[in-house]
C-alpha cells in the first residue's frame, strides 16, 4: 500500500455540499484508499477477482524496509445521531523482529459508540447493524469491479450470478421473508407436538394422533441424525481447513528452513570474509609502524636536507682550494712556477708560504663541515630507508569493510536464531501425517454429503405422511377447541402468508429496482431515444430502445452506465442507506455521461466520495458542474514510486 505516515481526510459534513473529490493519478492510491475503509470496517482489503490482500502486503514497502510494521485506520462517523469511532490496527507480533509473513502480524480492532467502548466480541454485530459486510460492496464501489455486474445480464444462472443475486436480495430484505417462513415452520412443528399430546384422549382421531406421534418421533430422530451429520460435516470441514492451514504453514516451514540454511551459509561466508580481512589487516600492521611515523620522518628529512644543502656550497669551494694549495706546494718544493717554469726567488717563496698557510687553514674548516655533511647524508639515507607501506591506504578500507560486515553478521545472527526457534516448533513427520488425514477427511466429506441428502429425503417423505394425519386432526371439531390447535392454525396461516409473499416480493422489488435504475439511467445516458432498462430474474439489466427492442451490443461505457444505474436502483430500493464511495467509476464514460453522473449523484446519496483522476474529470470542469455541491477536494500525491501522501487542495 502506498501510504506511509499519517494521512487525514475530512468527509463533507454539509447535506448540500455533500460531494468529496479525491484526485490521484493511476497507481497512486485511489483503490488503496477505498481498501483502507473496507479494511477498517471488515478487516479485508481486496484486489482484482475479489481476492483478499494478505495483511503482510498491506504494509507500505518503505516502512517495511525500515522495519516499521504498524498500520492503523481510524474512522469517525455519525449514524442516527450516534457518534462512532472505529479503529483497526495491524502490527508485528511480540518477539518477531523482522516479519516475513502475515502470521508474524496481528490485528486489533476497537469501536466506541457515543464514547462508550464496545466489547471486542460485539464489534462485528455492531458493524453489521451499521452497514453489513454482505452489502458493503454496493456502497464501496470499485469501478474495476464493474465487470462482475456483466454476469447478471445473462439469463442462465451461474455460480457467480447466484452469489451476486443473493447479495442483492439481502440488500432488499428478501431473506427476512425466507427466515420468517423457516422460523414459523419450526414453531409450527412444536405446536403440532403439543397438539398431539393434548388430543390423545379424543377417540375419533386417536389413530391419527398415534400415527402423528410415531411419525413425529421418526422425523425427530431423522432430524437429530441430520443435525449430527451436519455437525460432522462442519467439524470435518473445520478439521480439513485446520489441516490445510497446518500444511500451508508447513510450506512456510519449508521456506523458513530454506531461509535458515541461506542465513547460515551467508553468515559463514561473511565470517570467512571477516577472517580474511582481519588477517590481511594484521599482515599490513606488521610494517605499519613506518606509516605511523612517516609524517614525522618527512618533516625531519626536510630539515636535514635543508641543513645539508647549506653545507654543499662550501664543498665546492674546497675543491678549488685544494687546487690552489697543490699549486703553491709545488712551487715551494720545486722552486719553480709550474705554469711559466721561472725560478721562484726567496721573497716570492716567503709570500707563497704565507698564502699557503692561509689556504691550508681555510681547507681545515671545510673538512670539518664535510664531516657534518656526511653525518647529515647518513641520517637522510637512514630516514629514506623508512619507506611508507600500503598500510595507510589499505587499512582504512579494510576497517570500513570489517565494520560493515560486523553489522551484517549481527543481523544475520539474530535472524538465524529466530528461524532456529521457529523451526524447533515443528515436527515434519507430523506434517506428513496431517496431509494423509486431510485426504481421508475429504473423502469422508463426500460420504457425509450423500448421507445428508438421503436423510433430508426421508424427512420429506415422512413429513408428507405426517401432514395427511395432521390435517385429519385439524378437521376434528373437538380438537379444534384446544389452545394448541389454535396455535397450530395460527402458525400454519402465518407461514403460508410469508411463503406466498416471497415470489411476490421478489417480483415487486425487481420492479422497483428496475424503476429506479431506469430513472437513473435516463439521467445519465445521452441517448434520449432509449426507453429505459429491463430487469431479469438475476437482477441483470438490459437497455430497451424506443421500439422495445433489447440493445444487445453494449460498449464498456454503456456497461458502466447500466451498472451505476443498478447500484443507484438498489440504493434507492434498499432498506439501508449509506455514503457511496466510487473509485474510478467514470473511467469508461465520455464527457457528457460524466457530466450527467456528477450532476445526478449529489441528490441521490447522503454523501458521495469520488476517487478520480484528471483524465476522468478536470478540477475546473468538476467545479463548473458541481459548483457548491463540492464539500472538499483532496489530492493523493506522489512522494516516490512506493509512497503517496494525501493533502487538501
Amino acid at each position: 500500500m502506498p501510504f506511509k505516515g499519517e494521512q487525514e481526510v475530512v468527509f463533507p459534513q454539509d447535506s448540500y455540499s455533500n460531494v468529496l473529490l479525491i484526485y490521484a493519478d493511476n497507481m497512486r492510491g485511489k483503490t488503496s484508499f477505498l481498501n483502507a475503509l473496507r479494511w477498517c470496517f471488515y478487516g479485508e482489503a481486496i484486489e482484482r477477482n475479489r481476492r483478499v490482500i494478505e495483511p503482510f502486503n498491506i504494509v507500505n514497502w518503505d516502512a517495511a524496509d525500515e522495519n516499521e510494521w504498524e498500520v492503523s485506520v481510524d474512522v469517525k462517523f455519525e449514524l442516527e445521531e450516534i457518534e462512532y469511532e472505529l479503529v483497526r490496527e495491524l502490527q508485528r507480533k511480540p518477539m518477531i523482529h523482522i516479519p516475513k509473513r502475515s502470521s508474524d502480524l496481528e490485528i486489533k480492532v476497537a469501536l466506541r459508540k457515543d464514547g462508550k467502548v464496545i466489547k471486542p466480541n460485539e464489534i462485528t454485530h455492531e458493524i453489521n447493524q451499521i452497514i453489513p459486510k454482505d452489502i458493503a460492496r454496493f456502497f464501496l464501489f470499485d469501478g474495476e469491479l464493474l465487470e462482475e455486474y456483466e454476469e447478471l445480464v445473462k439469463e442462465e444462472a451461474s455460480e457467480k450470478s447466484e452469489r451476486i443475486k443473493e447479495e442483492i436480495e439481502k440488500v432488499l430484505g428478501v431473506p427476512a421473508f425466507l427466515n420468517a417462513r423457516d422460523h414459523l415452520g419450526v414453531l409450527l412443528s412444536k405446536a403440532r407436538t403439543q397438539q398431539g399430546k393434548d388430543a390423545k384422549d379424543i377417540k375419533s382421531i386417536k389413530s391419527a394422533v398415534t400415527q402423528c406421534e410415531l411419525l413425529e418421533k421418526q422425523i425427530k430422530d431423522l432430524k437429530r441424525d441430520l443435525k449430527l451429520l451436519e455437525g460432522n460435516k462442519n467439524s470435518n470441514r473445520k478439521r480439513i481447513t485446520k489441516l490445510k492451514e497446518i500444511i500451508e504453514e508447513f510450506r512456510s516451514v519449508h521456506e523458513d528452513q530454506k531461509d535458515y540454511e541461506e542465513c547460515k551459509s551467508d553468515l559463514s561466508k561473511l565470517e570467512k570474509k571477516q577472517d580474511i580481512l582481519s588477517a590481511k589487516k594484521r599482515d599490513l600492521l606488521k610494517e605499519a609502524w613506518k606509516d605511523v611515523i612517516s609524517p614525522l620522518v618527512e618533516v625531519k628529512k626536510t630539515d636535514l636536507e635543508k641543513s645539508r644543502d647549506k653545507l654543499i656550497k662550501p664543498s665546492k669551494e674546497e675543491y678549488k682550494l685544494e687546487g690552489k694549495i697543490e699549486a703553491l706546494e709545488s712551487v715551494l718544493e720545486n722552486h719553480k712556477c709550474p705554469t711559466c717554469t721561472q725560478d721562484a726567488g726567496e721573497e716570492i717563496r716567503i709570500e707563497i708560504k704565507n698564502n699557503l698557510e692561509k689556504l691550508q687553514a681555510g681547507a681545515q674548516n671545510i673538512t670539518s663541515n664535510n664531516e657534518t655533511l656526511n653525518g647529515l647524508q647518513e641520517k637522510i639515507r637512514n630516514l629514506s630507508a623508512i619507506k611508507k607501506t600500503s598500510a595507510s591506504t589499505e587499512i582504512p578500507g579494510i576497517e570500513k569493510d570489517l565494520r560493515s560486515n560486523s553489522l551484517d553478521i549481527n543481523k544475520l545472527d539474530t535472524e538465524r536464531e529466530r528461524l532456529k526457534k521457529e523451526l524447533s516448533k515443528h515436527d515434519t513427520v507430523q506434517i506428513k501425517k496431517d496431509a494423509k488425514e486431510r485426504d481421508g477427511l475429504l473423502i469422508l466429506e463426500g460420504e457425509i454429503k450423500t448421507n445428508i441428502e438421503d436423510c433430508r429425503r426421508n424427512i420429506s417423505v415422512k413429513r408428507e405422511r405426517y401432514n395427511v394425519y395432521a390435517a385429519k386432526i385439524d378437521k376434528d371439531n373437538t380438537a379444534k377447541k384446544m389452545r394448541s390447535s389454535r396455535l397450530v392454525e395460527a402458525y400454519k396461516g402465518l407461514k403460508l402468508v410469508f411463503e406466498d409473499s416471497i415470489s411476490t416480493l421478489r417480483d415487486s422489488l425487481r420492479f422497483q429496482v428496475q424503476k429506479h435504475a431506469t430513472e437513473t439511467f435516463k439521467e445519465l445516458t445521452t441517448e434520449q431515444t432509449y426507453k429505459g432498462l429491463k430487469i431479469n430474474k438475476n437482477y441483470g439489466l438490459s437497455i430497451i430502445d424506443e421500439k422495445d427492442r433489447e440493445v444487445t451490443l453494449r460498449s464498456s461505457g454503456a456497461e458502466e452506465i447500466v451498472a451505476l444505474s443498478l447500484v443507484s436502483g438498489l440504493n434507492l430500493t434498499a432498506r439501508k442507506s449509506a455514503p457511496i464511495i466510487m473509485d474510478t467509476a467514470m473511467g469508461r464514460l465520455d464527457n457528457k455521461h460524466r457530466e450527467n453522473l456528477l450532476r445526478f449523484i449529489p441528490d441521490v446519496v447522503d454523501q458521495a466520495i469520488l476517487l478520480v483522476h484528471e483524465g476522468e474529470i478536470r478540477k475546473e470542469d468538476a467545479y463548473k458542474i458541481l459548483e457548491s455541491r463540492i464539500g472538499g477536494i483532496y489530492n493523493i500525491e506522489r512522494v516516490s514510486s512506493s509512497q503517496s501522501k494525501i493533502s487538501k487542495d
Binding site: 589487516k281 594484521r282 609502524w289 605511523v292 614525522l296 637512514n382 630516514l383 630507508a385 595507510s392 587499512i395
Partner: protein
C-alpha cells in the same frame, strides 16, 4: 653522545600482559608487531613512559635486525641522554598501554593513526 646500547628490550611487568592480550584479541600477528607499532604511536603522539623497571621480552637481533627502529628513534627523538633502545622501551611502554586501553573500550580504529 655515544651510549652503550643494551642487547635486549622489553616492557615493565605490569605492561607485559597487555602486549600478549593485543595478540590474543587478534589485532596483531605477533608481539613484536604490536611492540613496533606501539613505539611508532608514542613517537607520533610525543609521549613516553618514565625510565626504569623494564624486563626483557625481545633480543635486539629479533625485533630490529635492520636497525630501522634504532635509526628512526635515534633521529626523531629530541634528546640523546640515554641509549636509543632505552628510549625505545619507554616509547613502547606508553604505546602498548595506550593500545590496550583503546582496545578495552571497543575495537581499535588503526586508520586514524595512519593518516
Amino acid at each position: 653522545m655515544k651510549h652503550k646500547e643494551p642487547k635486549t628490550i622489553g616492557l615493565t611487568l605490569a605492561t607485559k600482559p597487555n602486549l600478549a592480550r593485543l595478540v590474543e584479541d587478534g589485532y596483531f600477528n605477533e608481539q613484536l608487531d604490536a611492540y613496533k607499532f606501539a613505539v611508532a604511536l608514542a613517537l607520533k603522539t610525543g609521549r613516553l613512559a618514565d625510565p626504569g623497571g623494564f624486563t626483557t621480552i625481545f633480543n635486539i637481533g629479533t625485533i630490529d635486525l635492520d636497525r630501522e627502529i634504532y635509526e628512526s628513534v635515534k633521529i626523531l627523538r629530541e634528546y640523546d641522554e640515554e641509549p636509543v633502545y632505552k628510549t625505545v622501551e619507554r616509547l613502547a611502554e606508553w604505546g602498548v598501554n595506550e593500545l590496550f586501553q583503546v582496545s578495552e573500550s571497543g575495537d581499535i580504529d588503526f586508520s586514524k593513526w595512519l593518516k
